[in-house]
Amino acid sequence: MSTNMRGLNTFITDIRHCSNKEQEEKRVEKELQKIRGKFTSQKGLAGYQKKKYVWKLLYIYILGYEVDFGQQECAFLINSSKFSEKYTGYVATSILVSEKTHDLFTQVASSIRNDLQSVNEINQSLALTMVGTQAPQELVNALHQDVQKLALTESRSTFHVRKKACACLLRMYRKYQDKFQPSQWAQGISQMFESRHPSLGFMTAATSLLVGTCQLNNPSIFEDCTPKLIKLLHKIAIQKDSPGDYNYYATPAPWLQVKILKALSFFSPPPPSTDSHRQLTECLTKIIKKTEVTKSINKNNVDHGILFEAANLVITYNGAVGMELKNDILKLLGIFISVKEPNLRYLGLETMCKFVKLAGDSLEDHLNTIFKSLRDNDISIRKRALDLLYLISSPNTSQRIVEELLSYAENGADLQIKDDLVLKIAILSEKFADNLYWYIDVVVRMINSSGDFVTEDIWFRIIQIIVGFQKEGNQELQKYAATKLFSQLSMPHVHETLICIGAFIISEYSQMLVEQNKEPQKLFDILNKHYTFSTERSRQMLLNAFVKLACKYPELRDQAIMICQIAGEHFDPDIQQRGIEYFSLLMEDDKLLNQIVVKMPPYSELVQQNNPLTKRIYVMVLNPKEQKDPTLLNQARIQASQEIAMAEQRLQSKPEQLQKHLSWLKACPYLNQFQGQIALEGVNIMVPPSPEDNNLKSPSISNVNEIKVLLTSQIGKVVDKPGDLVVQYKSEISGHLGKVSFQFEGASPIQNLSILVSQTNGMLFNILPVKQGDFPQVMMQVLSCDGNMTLPIASVFYEQNGQQKKHEFNLPIYTNKFVQPVDMPYDKFTKFFDDFTNNLSNQNYFKLDSFIRNTAPSNIPMSEVLKKAGGLLSVGLNLKAQPFPSLENLQMIWACGQLMIKPPEQSNILNLPIMVIISSLDQTNEFLRVGIRCGGSGEIAKNYMKLIMLYLG
């Protein structure tokens, strides 16, 4: 058997007989030359010839060679009246022609339209398949109405054509979302599920179209479909009323069942005591209770595919339907994770992760099985098991789980999983430590077994915990840690990270060791023993330790001086610097030395709550679908981000700071002018940001240009890292949504570029796949979700000239970008403003008042300064700013706007009011008064204040 093109067959045979790659390349090169010659020669080629050569090109492409000519011949075959040529044209165009490199599609658009509108369903299908594969812009422009009509309206077209039209339409919509209004499809889609004798293939495509559209759009416009989908599912699963051809291993239309269950998860559960509720319960019960494990793997795959989807639906509905099936699901999952078949083990574990919240602690019965999966041969299964263990940890189980994870880390865990394993051990041991000795034991074991994977943030955290938080550290803990590390460091070979921690703890709490009859000299020797074989990093830590010890125990000073003196000539500049500095320090007298080397104070409570490790595990980009995911993992993520935000807020409005600010305000001689307009009592009074806690700081907004970028509405900007990378980016934001597109250029080619956005408080980023190439491009969508925003940082990782590189820069997206001006009469504005100011107990509004220094030269009149402020408020901060009493006699600028945010857990957009007043003072030109009132979060006021201070200051 072979195709009926002899030339093609010969070519394929030739290729088959090539014994190595070089021969094959040679043969392909020869053929390409020949075809190129034929295509470029003046003599016209017969249709058959063209077809044959195009198939050869296609074959060469499939072999893995780039085909950079002949596209025109491919596309023009579509115009042929001979079917076999037209067919070849369609297949080859969809595979070989890219709209990026060839501008051919306009020239064939009209024949494609003819085919779409013809009555020949084969031609219609071919056209839809081709357009659907790439959805080139020109064809989408020309044909989208035809395709919509074919997919959505029941006309002459057959189900065979309509199912392909559905797929094609979805592809077009995904690529050019702004061209389509899915709300207009709602009726059409809903009607698709009404047909009395549906073609199940068509139903499958229609359900995919529904799922795909819901993904990109608000699903509620299709809510109508729920009862119809349930009815269809009921018909297939319970009544078995479907054509026998669709039975697959005796299961009716499994693919469609899976799709319907998936689609249902986008909508609200059917209300109790409706037909739909009853039918769906019946379906789920049957699927979950009646599915068996058989000997045929294929049969199992088919049935379990449906089963997992059904379990997922019960989880997504959060028990609103099928809650009574909870135990059955749990039992099944328990079986699945213990069977031989690896696919089921994997999916069982994954589904359990989602199930944690519904199931509560009943998952604990399966701990032993999950432990076994942690040592499965298959890495994907091991990773799932680790995730699951992390999620089900509770005060009851944590010790057992941590012990198991540790022993896994100590023997058996491989490189691919250790990173994650170590992070999870570190978090769990801290979170569930009811006794801190246990914590120390765990982390020491962890470093001993997996030290290379203990990142800086982890070991910094360990030191923080030992030093302690709030007022006084836990001395028992410190003593225990010091003793433990002392004995650990007595061993000849110790992991570098342990040396770093040991150097810190032993020198910091040396007193406690000396009290246990350990000689200071012994402490010094134990540390010094590791000095010669250590890396630069731990040598730095050790030098610190030597100085600290020498300070407390004068008998050690000479030895420390000697080491520092040698270090002062070290080739590593950091060590050299430390050596020289410590050397001269040790030469000073005791008094000075004791002032410099003091005991480490405990960390603030904030540091305790703001655990960078938890942050790391939860710093993830949530896409819109995941936001709806009601599973525990997601909830934990949201909760963590809230905790982090609250902890940060606490730092910024410490009571002492507030008291200081209020007494400063009260003492201001200019206060009288604003009697009753400045909030001096009550809740939610914010303190203006001080330069130190400026979260605009890192990496840094250092110059005027960068501030300007923050203030313009549309940004086109270039970040230049001299020599190797130029980043151009552009952002557009309207309402609560925005998009940023980047292009990267380098002096030499940039490869494998990836980008990550961090510090995204208050915003959600969805980063689309990077378009690699000579000038890599990437698009990201951003959504505001919380008033507490920080300036996000973009980190770009890439390869250039074989080197891995990294570059960081700020994205100029900040509170003001999501604000829209609001027009309001002056009397209404003052009424609101005063109400907010004087209502002492209203928790909803936040107030910030301050006097800021006027930095304009003294010869500039106040009215000009206020005009500049007005410009800032209206152009930069997107408020509606107006003069008072008039532009000629300017005393005050008042401005009003609203911040648009959409919290992930809510379905509607919130508009938070912002009101700002900047006015001059009667008595002096040295200061300006600034007052801000806002809803939502005090951070909004603080962020606005920050921008005003940056610009006017």
């Binding site: 072979s2 195709t3 067959n9 198939w55 296609l58 499939i62 072999l63 893995g64 780039e66 079917f83 076999s84 067919y87 070849t88 297949v91 595979i95 890219s98 709209e99 990026k100 084969i122 299908s125 398949t129 790439q134 065979h160 199912k163 392909k164 559905c166 797929a167 094609c168 592809r171 995904r174 199940l200 293939g201 499958t204 495509a205 995919s208 179209l209 993904q215 054509p243 051809d245 669709y246 239309a253 499994p254 693919w255 899976v258 998936k262 294929n298 795959n301 088919v302 379990h304 595919g305 690896p342 696919n343 994997y346 999916l347 041969n377 298959d378 299964i381 896409n623 690699q772 190439g773």
Partner: protein, 151 residues
């Protein structure tokens, strides 16, 4: 959505190559190479699917592989697709090939790029599975062939 569908033989030669999203040629090659490397890890005792944690295609995607005779069937799918569903689909495609070629083997795939591509196009359109009924697909293919012969 199905992003990529490949059929590769056991020595890593590609027999069917379909990308349903725009991917530049160089990146296509990169993706294929990495996917082919992955096939070596597939054993009867390992899972047939995994998350694309290394971002071979996209970190949000999943990869499904199945081995038949001398051929690997590889699909990269997004989060909307069911892993077991795609395994069925592959089985379905194999069943269909058996019907069309009578005990299909690699040579059939090799010498019939036209038929194979037509077959795939009947099942997957624009990355969406539009038909799983073997009878229907056979019928559609037959009609197409008749039309080719007639004109």
């Amino acid at each position: 959505m199905i992003k990529v569908f490949l059929i590769v033989n056991s020595s890593g030669k590609i027999r069917i190559r379909r990308f349903y999203d725009e991917v530049e040629f160089a990146r296509q090659q990169q993706i294929e190479q990495k996917l082919v490397q992955l096939t070596s890890k597939l054993s009867p005792n390992s899972c047939n699917f995994f998350k694309d944690l290394d971002g071979i295609y996209d970190k949000k995607c999943k990869i499904v592989m199945r081995f038949f005779g001398t051929l690997y069937f590889i699909a990269v799918i997004d989060e909307d697709e069911s892993e077991l569903g795609v395994l069925d689909l592959i089985q379905n495609i194999v069943d269909l090939m058996d019907k069309i070629f009578e005990n299909a083997c690699e040579l059939d795939v090799l010498y019939h790029p036209d038929k194979m591509n037509a077959l795939i196009d009947e099942i997957i359109v624009a990355g969406i599975v539009v038909e799983t009924n073997i009878m229907d697909i056979q019928e559609a293919l037959k009609q197409q062939e008749t039309q080719i012969k007639n004109k």
